[in-house]
Amino acid sequence: MKIRPLVILPLVFVFALFALFGYALLSGVDPKEVPSALTGKALPGFQLASLQDENTVITREEIIGEPMLMNIWATWCSSCKYEHPVLNALSADGVKIIGINYKDERDLALKWLQDYADPYALDIYDPNGDLGFDLGVTGAPETFFIDSKGQVQYRYQGPITHEIWQQSLKAIYDEMV
């Protein structure tokens, strides 16, 4: 029996399609997970007041120099409360964490830090979410891993837990140190 090459074309086309689907399913591609646009790029510049003192201006140049985490948080964000003790523990272990208080009110934020302890080496107040926008933040909490040259190495969305830190995030942090 002679088979014309054209009639095999649909079969090839469908086979390619299914290979793609099979690969997507097996490799666990998650269409909802969007990586940060900043990965591998320099932390954007900013000029914002300190949370504790509105007259102290903090800029990008002042904070970079050593590996650190930059944590976006707010008092209206319930999973931030869940994450907070983990940050406290990390800070006690010597991880430098910069806190960005995101779209929040100063009084509430200060009271929060008083009540639950302050894991942050520095508290930056971003009431309008300007820095947040430049960082591509879509919600709180989010944590950026920044190396000593001021480059963003990784961005984690959602609350950090001890398990996630041990499983994956610690390795990313250790690589920067």
Binding site: V7, P10, V14, L20, F21, L25, V29, P31
Partner: protein
């Protein structure tokens, strides 16, 4: 005990579907008529036990049996009874059961109406449908069992149906859409049956055409209902979002449309046979693809079911088996399909072929656009989105050609168009279409957008062609009425469907270019003038619904100081799941919709709101056009030659 009966019934249906998948086809291979003849009885058995299973599922929903997992997860005792019932297909498991039930409904319909098919072909067709039923029943039983119980800890109440689904849209849209999707399985089975039996007479097209048209009509209505539902329920006035799930329903529609046209050629001229077989396979394959995309979680969509890779893999295997198998069969047997006859470039065949090319290209572009983000992601190139701007540009561009060709094609004769003076006729049509399209919108709106001009020129071009068709058909008859009668339902079905296309196109062109949408900050007593409509915000009030609390706006709409409507947009808070819903206030009419939706409260008193006001001219024409298309499709199959008792007996004798 009832759910266990349902489960048992489902298992019986599964067993019978296995027999239906094996016995008649074995009979075809072994040339044993007795085996082939089991198909009808087995089809009925599958249908009966599925119907019992589905009835028991409905019963569980109706009586709030929260020991059944899907009922507990998707219903609530506070729901009105009709939403309790429709909730049974508002979830993955139940909708899958409905899908298989509809498949077996189509199967028994074939068994019932195709009584005069040869035993061999009937056995093959029902056997192929049995294979599909068996595959999907296995899927339901092993990965998505709707009768799974939560015992012994039965929840006191269900966790409610997603408020988006608490709507007449859920009652109507999925069953209609599924009827369409699943209906293409019949054309598929006829094509595969022809490949198995090796008979490609014009007879198989004639048998399968009514089924294709019916399925297509259901799909058309289903898609239109979905669009209309999104329009009023999502609250922002959009009617097509090019969301992956919408695309998944649009692709089989496009291929199905191509199939209808290609089958017309195959029936009339015995041409494009191999192509019709291929399209029949692909129309159903795209339906199955939609099922996969919606339920596997490989794409993000507003309407997707909960993602489950394991289910995705199962469906993918079914797809590989059914689609891969049928295409393999095609690859081996296509050479046997003999084509005869010739046609020239200016002939109806040639223009129908162009129609097919364009429809397939559109379907391909939609498919590729839908899948490119997945492709780019899987190969870690980057995350990207392909949405409305891309699809609109490609679709509109190709539609220009499709409509232009339609205006000519439907006037042409088969084989070779040699009518005198037809070029002059076309020129007159063209000039009048262009001129009317220039003058009408300009005198009416004082504005001239080239998009409107082009769109309306195409509309009037096809309208002129439709008018011309009627003149041609009635010219030589005793009277106009006699001419209309003589033209036949096949002609009028096509005429209506094409008119529907024009009506829909008019809606798209006008609402896309002339709709007005503005956001305002309003308080009670405020008034907004938008075009010649004045929107008076009378008051905001808080109302208590059956299972929600809502902020409701009372907005009176005036035109020339005469009240034309009062609409009540709402912002609803559903307490059980904590959802917020924007319920638009719409005053609809044939020529325009007025659309008011409440965005968010601007202060704590809940008396100041940001509100979106829209005037949408001709928006309802979109859906009326679809209704006309579906009607046309149904009208054309009432033709006498499809009434199988009279005509197919003679065909059979010749076999």
């Amino acid at each position: 005990m009832f759910p266990e009966f349902g489960q048992f019934s489902l298992i019986l249906a599964w067993v019978f579907s296995l027999l239906l998948a094996v016995m008649p086809l074995a009979g075809v291979v072994l040339k044993k008529q007795a085996l082939q003849q089991t198909a009808t009885a087995l089809s009925w058995a599958v249908f009966f036990f599925l119907a019992v299973a589905f009835a028991i599922l409905l019963h569980a929903f109706y009586h709030d049996d929260f020991s059944v997992a899907v009922v507990a997860a998707n219903s609530n005792s506070a729901l009105p009874w009709y939403y309790k019932l429709s909730a049974s297909w508002g979830n993955h498991e139940g909708s899958m059961l409905l899908w298989v039930l509809l498949l077996s409904t189509w199967t028994v319909a074939v068994a019932l109406f195709a009584r005069t098919l040869t035993v061999e072909l009937k056995g093959s067709v029902l056997g192929v449908l049995g294979i599909i039923a068996f595959c999907f029943l296995s899927f339901v039983l092993f990965t998505s069992n709707p009768f799974e119980r939560i015992l012994p800890m039965v929840p006191a109440d269900g966790s409610d149906l997603n408020p988006l689904l608490q709507d007449i849209g859920l009652i109507l849209h999925p069953p209609t859409l599924y009827m369409g999707y699943v209906g293409f399985s019949v054309a598929f089975a006829f094509a595969v049956g022809a490949l198995i039996t090796g008979r490609f007479d014009a007879s198989w097209v004639r048998w399968s055409r009514p089924w294709t048209n019916t399925a297509w009509a259901f799909l058309t209505i289903g898609i239109a209902l979905g669009s209309w539902w999104a329009y009023y329920e999502l609250g922002w006035g959009g009617w097509w979002f090019w969301d992956p799930v919408e695309n998944a329903s649009f692709m089989p529609w496009l291929i199905g449309t191509a199939l209808i046209h290609s089958q017309a050629v195959t029936e009339k001229r015995n041409l494009f046979k191999s192509w019709s077989v291929l399209l029949a396979i692909f129309a159903f394959s795209f339906s199955l693809l939609g099922t996969f995309l919606v339920r596997s979680g490989v794409l993000t969509s507003v309407h997707a079911f909960a993602a489950d890779p394991e289910r995705g893999m199962f469906i993918l295997l079914i797809l590989g088996f059914t689609i891969g198998g049928s295409l393999l069969l095609y690859a081996f047997n296509a050479a046997k399909i003999k084509t005869s006859g010739s046609f020239e470039l200016v002939s109806r065949e040639s223009f129908l072929l162009m129609n097919n090319i364009l429809l397939v290209v559109i379907a391909f572009a939609v498919l590729f656009g839908t899948l490119l983000p997945l492709l780019a992601d899987a190969f870690s190139w980057r995350k990207l989105s392909v949405g409305a701007p891309f699809f609109n540009s490609v679709f509109n561009f190709l539609m220009v050609f499709l409509l232009s060709l339609l205006g000519i094609g439907q006037l042409l004769r088969w084989k070779k168009h040699n009518k005198k003076g037809w070029r002059i006729t076309l020129l007159i049509m063209l000039v009048s279409a262009v001129v009317i399209a220039l003058i009408l919108p300009w005198t009416l709106s004082g504005k001239l957008y080239w998009q409107v001009w082009l769109g309306m020129a195409l509309v009037f071009w096809v309208v002129a062609s439709l008018v011309n068709m009627v003149i041609e058909r009635t010219r030589n008859s005793r009277s106009f009425i006699a001419g209309i009668r003589k033209a036949g339902v096949g002609f009028w079905g096509m005429w209506l469907a094409h008119l529907g296309l024009v009506v829909s196109t008019t809606g798209v062109v006008l609402v896309s270019n002339f709709d007005i949408e503005k956001d305002y900050r309003v308080e009670e007593g405020d008034s907004v003038q938008l075009n010649n409509y004045r929107f008076d915000v009378d008051r905001f009030q808080i109302i208590q619904g059956p299972n929600y609390v809502a902020d409701r706006g009372v907005v009176s709409i005036y035109r020339d100081d005469k009240k034309v409507a009062e609409v009540n947009p709402e912002k609803r808070y559903y307490s059980v799941q904590g959802n917020v819903m924007t319920e638009a206030g719409i005053d609809g009419s044939l020529l325009r919709d007025l659309y008011v939706s409440m965005a968010e409260p601007l202060d704590d008193s809940r008396k100041v709101w940001s509100v979106r006001l829209q005037v949408k001219p001709f928006v309802s024409w979109l859906w009326w056009g679809a209704a006309l298309m579906a009607l046309g499709s149904i009208v054309s199959i009432t033709d006498r030659r499809y009434r199988l008792k009279t005509s197919s007996a003679s065909v059979e004798k010749t076999l």
